[in-house]
């Protein structure tokens, strides 16, 4: 207390000409604020720069994609059949249709080259994977959070899920290849087999994100259910799942969006097709596989196909992600009362 008074006294003496309280306040405010304004401007600038740098890779990917594949993207490309490309196209050809006309007899080649079968195959195999992984994953998460708790079995499952999340996706492809495809020979390669591999990939992600979402539902809601004469499972069905639904949906959809772009699990499991195959059995193809095949080929036409498939895939994943966001914002409910 005394120290403060003494200090105050000294500064008053030091600022004798500015003893007018208003003037003194004014001076001090201006000095502090000038320094603050400088550091404020510097930090703001640094943050802007950081954000800008973070956006650079994203923007450049989109720019390159649009530049290389943008001109291919139209309704006919999205629905057209996949061309069988073998040789080299004449170097003079600029557009894919021109090259086709030059190179192939239009009667035997698909009238309009496109990635239609790959779009269908991507949607089909991803849907199969999601259908397998999402219900199982959510049920597993319910077990972990509502029943297993910190028990031994739950801990083992949680640990396995974490390890599985880290397993490279190509290993999932190999697993399904040996466990499923090999058993059925060439006929084993199908959208279903690819869906199995994608499900293996999605499952641990769905389990862990769903568990987090269930964990966010406050315990007092579970207690309220029980205090009203509800059994535990009734609370799970009537309170916990509805409350966690937006989060569960978002988590599942983000896992699905990621799986849609996977290449490795699909490579050995999906087989091949040039025509649209809407059946879960029989050879199929995905956009990711088209990119892989097209990019490896020495044929410039195949390369172009790869760019077209790439921009299509990015668009598809973007749509899935946007849908997930929309769903979560639409159904979002405040959990805490």
């Amino acid at each position: 207390m005394t120290a403060v008074i003494g200090d105050g006294g000294r500064s008053v003496v030091g600022l004798a000409p500015l003893l007018d309280p208003a003037a003194r306040t004014d001076v001090r405010v201006r000095t502090i604020s000038a320094r603050r304004r400088r550091s404020d401007r510097a930090v703001t600038l640094a943050l802007w720069a950081a954000a800008g740098i973070a956006v650079v890779p994203l923007v450049s990917v989109v720019v390159v994609l649009v530049a290389k594949g943008g001109h291919l993207l139209d309704g006919r490309f999205l629905t057209g059949d996949i061309p069988l490309l073998t040789g080299r196209a004449p170097a003079a050809c600029r557009s894919i249709s021109e090259a086709f006309r030059a190179k192939y007899d239009l009667d035997c080649a698909p009238p309009v080259p496109g990635v239609g079968p790959a779009v269908v195959g991507t949607l089909l195999s991803t849907a199969i994977g999601a259908l397998l992984a999402v219900p199982l994953g959510v049920l597993g998460a319910i077990y972990l959070n509502e029943i297993g708790g910190s028990g031994r079995i739950a801990r083992v499952i949680r640990f396995s899920a974490d390890v599985m999340t880290g397993v490279p996706s190509i290993v999932m492809g190999m697993f399904v290849y040996t466990a499923w495809v090999v058993r059925f020979g060439t006929a084993g390669r199908s959208a279903f087999a690819a869906g199995l591999a994608l499900a293996c990939l999605m499952l641990p992600v769905v389990v862990r994100t769903s568990e987090e979402m269930l964990c966010l539902v406050p315990d007092h809601l579970r207690h309220a259910n029980q205090a009203l004469g509800g059994r535990r499972w009734q609370g799970v069905v009537r309170v916990v799942i509805p409350a966690a639904l937006p989060g569960l949906t978002t988590g599942a959809m983000l896992a699905v969006a990621r799986a849609a772009g996977e290449t490795a699990p699909v490579l050995f499991t999906i087989g091949v097709t040039l025509r649209t195959n809407v059946s879960p059995s029989g050879g199929n193809t995905t956009l990711a596989q088209q990119i892989y095949d097209g990019a490896r080929s020495g044929d410039p036409l195949a390369n172009q196909m790869a760019w077209g498939a790439a921009i299509t895939l990015v668009l598809l994943v973007f749509l899935l992600t946007a849908l997930a966001r929309l769903v979560s914002s639409r159904f979002s409910t405040r959990l805490d009362g």
């Binding site: 809601l221 207690h223 309220a224 259910n225 205090a227 009203l228 004469g229 009537r238 409910t333 009362g337």
Partner: protein, 297 residues
Amino acid sequence: MNTSTVHAPIAPTAPTALTMRRGDPPVEAAIGGTRHAGTPEVVLDVRGLSVSYGDRVAVRGVDLRIARNQVTAVIGPSGCGKSTFLRSLNRMNDLVPACRVDGSVTFHGIDLYDPGVDPVEVRRRIGMVFQKPNPFPKSIYRNVAYGLKLAGIRDDLDGRVERALRQAGLWDEVAHRLGASALSLSGGQQQRLCIARALAVEPEVLLMDEPCSALDPIATAHIEELMSELARRLTIVIVTHNMQQAARASDRTAFFTTEVGADGLRTGVLVEVDATDHVFGNPADERTMHYVTGRFG
């Protein structure tokens, strides 16, 4: 073990099966007990109750009878085991994994801790309101109808919901927006909604754990009024830190405190339980007097 003194004579437990169905004639009609009658009927008979968490005893040796159609207040310093005691009256302690209950709590002649008793049925008959309002993130209507749906009651849902909301003094405020989210209500309204939700299933006993601690004085007064209204039809046990509330709103008061044993462990014990006027005006135990007059010993 403890110095509980009982002034008013209390009749022995009325034997009624715990499996009594909803819609059976109310026990009070059969027994003839009403509020402030000469010998109130005992609804909950607690004998030698001890509750431990793991190997730590939280409350020891509670002997207490809770009379029908009365408001029983439970007071005492923080950590003395009031909530623990309250939760043991409708087996909410079962939800705490390491919790163990010894002694007996008799409800209509049946020990609630008998292995044959279904805790879910117990909680249906002995409702609970928590310290923090905890409505479900659903509509107002669905909150109140929740317990009814659990119990499989489908007839006259609307009427039952309305009656429960009226009893909780909330009807006029929410009648025009039953479909709105319960979370859009104010804290006091949410707490009354939780009371309505508990009342909808027509429990015989309502346990309230500091139901007003998150509320402002007006909302608190509202709920106190409600309690004396409700006590005409059911039995209320309320834990409170608010001495005035206990004095104003309760018929009987139980005072708990913490005893430090020779080993340094703290255990909650019931010091005395008596008519509220007695506890506040002329307590039998010195510790009670110190507590109610604001001096700790």
